[in-house]
Amino acid sequence: MASQEIYYVPEGSKWPIVGSLSLFITFMGGAMMFNNAPGALYVLVLGLAALVYMFAGWFADVISESLAGKYSKQVDVSFRMGMGWFILSEVMFFAAFFGALYYARVFSIPWLGGEGQGLHNGTHEFLWPAFQAMWPMNVMPDPSNYTQYKDTIPAFGIPAINTALLLTSGVTCTFAHWALKKEQRKSLCLWLAATVLLGFIFVGFQAQEYVHAYKDLDLTLNSGIYGSTFFMLTGFHGFHVTMGAVMLAVILFRSMKGHFSNKDHFAFEAVAWYWHFVDVVWLGLFIFVYWV
């Protein structure tokens, strides 16, 4: 609800259209890559560079406006709502992939294994009568097109360590917030640095796990529905952790410059929310992808 005397409407800005244009170039470059079009890589790199330029420029403008005290309480609330609903949209994006995992495990694999009546075991009966339902599924209904893997990644190895790392990073993030509220800048920066570090260690372990899966286990994107769901879920999550860690690093840099006060630090909170969201998604992954 409006509480102040004068409403704030920002000045016009070139960044939105620069953002649209750079996304356009990026998508075009990406699509050209898939078609093996000449020069595709240059287009893609140009688009990504333009995106980075847009993010840097847009955020720089917003930060300087914020530091100049232009933003009212109402603007702050709009930003908070924006971030919150953005995170919900991210949740729904992951929901699609969790849904695919659930569907494969509960419906499609048992049906392919002959469960159910009528149409459902038709595929089993007429196409692949030898196929037996199992999870993890390392014998495909039609093995000819797929890479069979030797083993899956056990939950209580690197994934368990990664769980501990991410949960700890959530705690250090909260410690940083407490320090910020008490205006202890040094402690804030240390805890934030620890959070960033834990995030990047997580990503490093994840990368190592991927190398192990591809090189030693023959577990790839091409390993049937198990490999598909495994790599797409952990891959998108890993991408989000990387983004979150970069965002945290920016916040660390801004904390060192003293941009935040104990009352006014929405950017910190937004990134912290994002970080906790990434954390919660990981718990879902650890339980449903690696463990049960």
């Binding site: 004068i6 920002p10 075009m28 994006f93 849904g99």
Partner: protein, 529 residues
């Protein structure tokens, strides 16, 4: 009558290209959205003309079947994502801040980006028509494995969908933040005009549904290029999984198109019946119920694909349930008109036609929702007739109604009422000539998405095509009416329609570039609806 006066010397506008490219003004961005939507309406419409020309006679006349199918596919994508949705967002941009006493949208720069994505995204999509292998031709529903046979157009199609999703999600976030954070003091939630309510609820649907589509098309992309097997039974996946994911998005999407139309009609009918909206609170709750239920009915699009019988029953009953809140709404619109002092200006004509024709579309939807009979109707022209009644004589008629209703507020001039009425009657007759015979074609067994047909379907197809051409031509009249109104005419008063309620009628016509720079003081009269 009091107006919320405004100092003209504050009304400085940026000029030239900067005004449109760098805009943070909800009215300018709204205008851009509406112009874009109208342009896309004609681009998608000309594809529909190609379809109807081809179907005018049995046999192949003008285009080859592959191109015909890409016309069907791209027509749908353009009309949904390029015409109806942007038109709705354009109206939301223009009207929501005016209706709730806000200075602008909550996040004006993001608002500009939501719009400027659209021309680029459609450049990606439409460019596919000129690529090797032709445009996407597997239907807008993009079912695998068929869609995976698309040529070079494929990654462009997928990325265009991602791109449009980004735009819609940003637009939805903006509307939610605006409505929950920017209302003038006294504008409580249950005082909000119904158009604002329907848009908030639509925004929730957008945020929850579009990312799921983004995930689904991403899986299509990796299935084609990275060897994953989400939709390939040989690797343990299932092509039907895509249909589940798609329709989990697709059914809420139907309401994303329809709910803003409900909101428009709920503004227009009380204004011209000169009575308060009947059952305001029940309208809000019915809208919310429809939105919630829309997430539990998706498999009624897939009855014939081989679902377990328990699933079919669940989705059939859940679908029937949606008829209840929809019935509440139709009842309320009729009850609003009951014993009202009605006049029939163009917006009212379009809204009344909406109530009747949307209800026809709703009833044919109910028929399709009954599992055993859907086995007959599935993928026939009956389905085509159904969703065009809901979307064209439904959503598009409501959008037309909204344009006539608010055009004087935007331009400051009255439109030509006589031409408006001619536009309405021609649209009404031609659209029914166009789509009503398609019910019969479908019931007789004519399948959709095929450029040729059996000789027995020839007469109804010829009638339908004549209706189609007439409808297409009639819309040129609409462009003329809008341009004529924008360029001049009788001056519009602040309160354009004597019976209209709501805050937007307390600002001058045309609405000044900046409204409500300070929170307006609202009187009881201003909060009526």
């Amino acid at each position: 009558m009091s107006t919320l006066a405004h100092d003209d010397h504050h009304d400085h506008k940026p000029t030239g290209l900067k005004r449109w490219f760098f805009s943070t003004n909800h009215k300018d961005i709204g205008t851009l959205y509406l112009i874009f939507a109208l342009t896309m309406f004609f681009v998608g419409g000309s594809m529909a003309m190609i379809i109807r020309a081809e179907l005018f006679q049995p046999g192949l006349q003008f285009v080859d079947p592959q191109f015909y199918n890409s016309m069907v596919t791209v027509h749908a994508l353009i009309m949904i994502f390029g015409a109806v949705m942007p038109a709705g967002v354009g109206l939301a941009n223009w009207m929501i801040p005016l209706m709730i006493g806000a200075p602008d949208m909550a996040l004006p720069r993001m608002n500009n980006m939501s719009f400027w994505i659209l021309p680029f995204a459609f450049a990606l999509l439409i460019s596919t028509l000129f690529m090797e292998g032709g445009g996407p031709a597997g239907g807008w529903t993009m079912y695998p494995p068929l869609v995976l046979q698309t040529g070079n157009a494929f990654p462009f199609l997928i990325f265009a969908i991602h791109f449009l999703g980004v735009s819609s999600i940003m637009g939805a976030i903006n509307i939610i933040a605006t409505v929950f954070n920017m209302r003038a003091p006294g504008m409580t939630l249950m005082k909000m005009p119904l158009f604002v309510w329907t848009w908030v609820i639509t925004s929730f649907l957008l945020i929850a549904a579009l990312p799921v589509l983004a995930g689904g098309v991403t899986m299509l992309l990796t299935d084609k290029y990275f060897g994953t097997s989400f939709f390939d039974a040989a690797g343990g996946g299932d092509p039907v999984l895509f249909q589940h994911i798609f329709w989990f998005f697709g059914h809420p999407e139907v309401y994303i198109l329809a709910l803003p139309a409900f909101g428009i009609v709920s503004q227009v009918i009380p204004a011209f019946a000169r009575k308060p909206l009947f059952g305001y609170a029940s309208m809000v709750y019915a809208t919310a119920s429809i939105a919630i239920l829309s997430f539990f009915v998706w498999a009624h699009h897939m009855f014939t694909v081989g679902l377990p019988i328990k699933g079919e029953l669940f989705f059939m009953y859940a679908t029937m349930l949606i008829a209840v809140p929809t019935g509440v709404k139709v009842f309320n619109w009729v009850a609003t008109m009951w014993k009202g002092a009605m006049t029939f200006e163009t917006p009212m004509l379009f809204s009344i036609a909406f109530v009747i024709l949307f209800t026809i579309g709703g009833f044919s939807g109910l028929m399709l929702g009954i599992t055993p009979v859907d086995f007959q109707y599935h993928d026939t022209y009956f389905v085509v007739a159904h969703f065009h009644y809901v979307l064209l004589t439904g959503a598009v008629f409501a959008l037309m109604s909204a344009v006539y209703y608010w055009l004087p507020k935007w331009t400051g001039y009255m439109y030509d009422e006589r031409l408006g009425k001619i536009h309405f009657w021609l649209s009404l007759i031609s659209s029914n000539v166009l789509f009503f015979p398609q019910h019969f074609l479908g019931l007789a067994g004519m399948p959709r998405r095929i450029p040729d047909y059996n000789i027995q379907f020839a007469d109804f197809n010829a009638i339908s095509s004549i209706g189609g051409f007439a409808y297409g031509l009639t819309q040129l009249l609409f462009v003329y009416i809008v341009l004529k109104c924008a360029l001049g005419g009788k001056k519009a008063k602040p309160r354009v329609w004597e019976g209209a309620k709501g805050l937007e009628w307390y600002v001058p016509s045309p609405a000044p570039f900046h409204t409500f720079e300070t929170p307006p003081k609202l009187t009881k009269e201003m909060l009526e609806h």
